[in-house]
């Protein structure tokens, strides 16, 4: 797999301004902008990083550049949601997608471990899709709890929060320059653990129509709060009630308006 990917990246480097991928240097693995074929011996596929955020950063710095990205399923879903919100320009991004292994799919409880590049202007996928991982058993367990118990469960969990903002920072579909979580109007400053439910519910609501179930928030949480139990259930509701699956289709519009022009309100009021 990795050799096939390196070969394709080498090919695409001839026509692109660089390819974003993970590089194993003597220091360790981290995102990198590859320029030459020689460097590709160091291209690797794990651990996971928020690749869509790196794409966004580099596209914004270089508004005319055409990049490629080596991306797994959740990276592609995140790129799709970023593109819908004008944070990533699909016309300037070639996706070299690759399928996750069965072990990875299981470890992530991933429902969709292969990149879905339908509709992306220029993309390819390397590898054979594996079956979905089994669903997170905590979600079913939680869904059985009576309402009062659920409240107590989250109170208990969010008491551990150290307000590092890591769940927001790592999220591959989170990008606002000014964040409600830093606005004293919404989240009272200087309170530790951060006010429950405001801090976490604002994040959850903002994610409701774009969480791509990458699980990076949960992995980065120093307090080991099972954040994706919450996000999985919200995703289920958004899918069941509104028929929307984030990251599945570049053309599908999310149920929440993306611009004021889409909003069902009269903007001409005096």
């Amino acid at each position: 797999m990795i050799e096939a990917i390196r070969a394709r990246v080498a090919e695409k480097l001839k026509e692109l301004d660089g390819v974003i991928g993970l590089r194993r240097s003597p220091e360790g693995v981290a995102p990198y902008l590859f320029h030459t074929e020689e460097e590709l011996a160091e291209l690797v596929l794990e651990p996971r990083y928020p690749m869509s955020s790196v794409v966004r950063l580099l596209q914004k710095r270089h508004p005319a550049a055409r990049f490629g990205v080596v991306a797994r399923g959740c990276d592609v879903r995140a790129l799709v949601e970023m593109a819908k919100r004008n944070q990533v320009d699909p016309e300037r991004l070639y996706i070299i997608g690759f399928t996750c292994t069965a072990e990875e799919a299981e470890a992530c409880h991933c429902a969709d471990p292969a990149p879905n590049v339908t509709g992306w202007p220029q993309a390819e996928v390397i590898g054979t899709p594996v079956a979905a991982g089994s669903p997170n058993p905590m979600v079913a367990e939680y869904a059985q709890m009576p309402r009062a118990e659920r409240w107590a469960f989250w109170q208990q969990q969010f008491k551990k929060c150290i307000k590092c903002y890591g769940c927001r920072n790592i999220c591959p579909v989170c990008f606002c320059e000014s964040c409600a979580l830093e606005d004293p109007l919404w989240v009272e400053p200087g309170v530790m653990a951060p006010p429950f439910p405001m801090y976490h519910m604002i994040k959850a609501m903002h994610m409701s129509n774009r969480c791509v179930a990458c699980r990076q928030c949960e992995l980065t949480c120093p307090a080991h709060i099972p954040l994706t139990v919450l996000y999985d259930l919200i995703r289920q509701d958004v899918e069941n009630l509104m028929g929307y699956v984030p990251g599945a289709d570049l053309e599908a519009l999310p149920p929440v308006p993306l611009t004021l022009a889409d909003a069902p309100i009269d903007l001409d009021v005096e």
């Binding site: 902008l33 550049a65 120093p222």
Partner: protein, 135 residues
């Protein structure tokens, strides 16, 4: 058109989390945590996550400052070190070595902390050494 991550150790406290400092075209643009690191294991606290901001903050001290009549003034390292050596030597000679205390910091490396206590004990000859991690 370059982008890479430079791996370093967070200087904020004594835990020693690893940071990936994102560098684009020579400019520090952000921080990523490091999932491979055995201590921080892909997590950071709010200070580590924001290390890119203080690294490039305009208020960051880049040259030594010496307090003179009108307030702090920028100085060269040679001048600053010479002044510190002269004043510490004079205070030790006038008032004895135990009139001086040395405070080290969790923001320094083990080796830097070692060197400071060495200076205290071997040069000034006092055991007045303390560390902010004890506060």
């Amino acid at each position: 058109m370059d982008y890479k991550n430079v791996r370093t150790t967070c200087i904020y406290c004594g835990c020693g989390c690893t940071l990936n400092v994102q560098v684009a075209d020579g400019e520090v643009v952000g921080i990523l945590p490091c999932p491979e690191h055995p201590i921080s294991r892909g997590s950071l606290c709010i200070k580590g996550w924001n290390a890119a901001e203080f690294a490039t903050h305009p208020d960051r001290l880049r040259v030594p400052l010496i307090r003179r009549e009108g307030g702090f003034e920028e100085a060269s390292w040679e001048e600053a070190l010479a002044l510190v050596a002269e004043r510490l030597g004079a205070i030790r000679d006038d008032s004895g070595p135990d009139s001086i205390g040395f405070f080290t910091s969790a923001k320094c490396t083990n080796e830097e902390n070692y060197l400071l206590q060495k200076l205290a004990r071997a040069v000034i000859k006092t055991n007045n050494v303390d560390h902010c991690a004890r506060l």
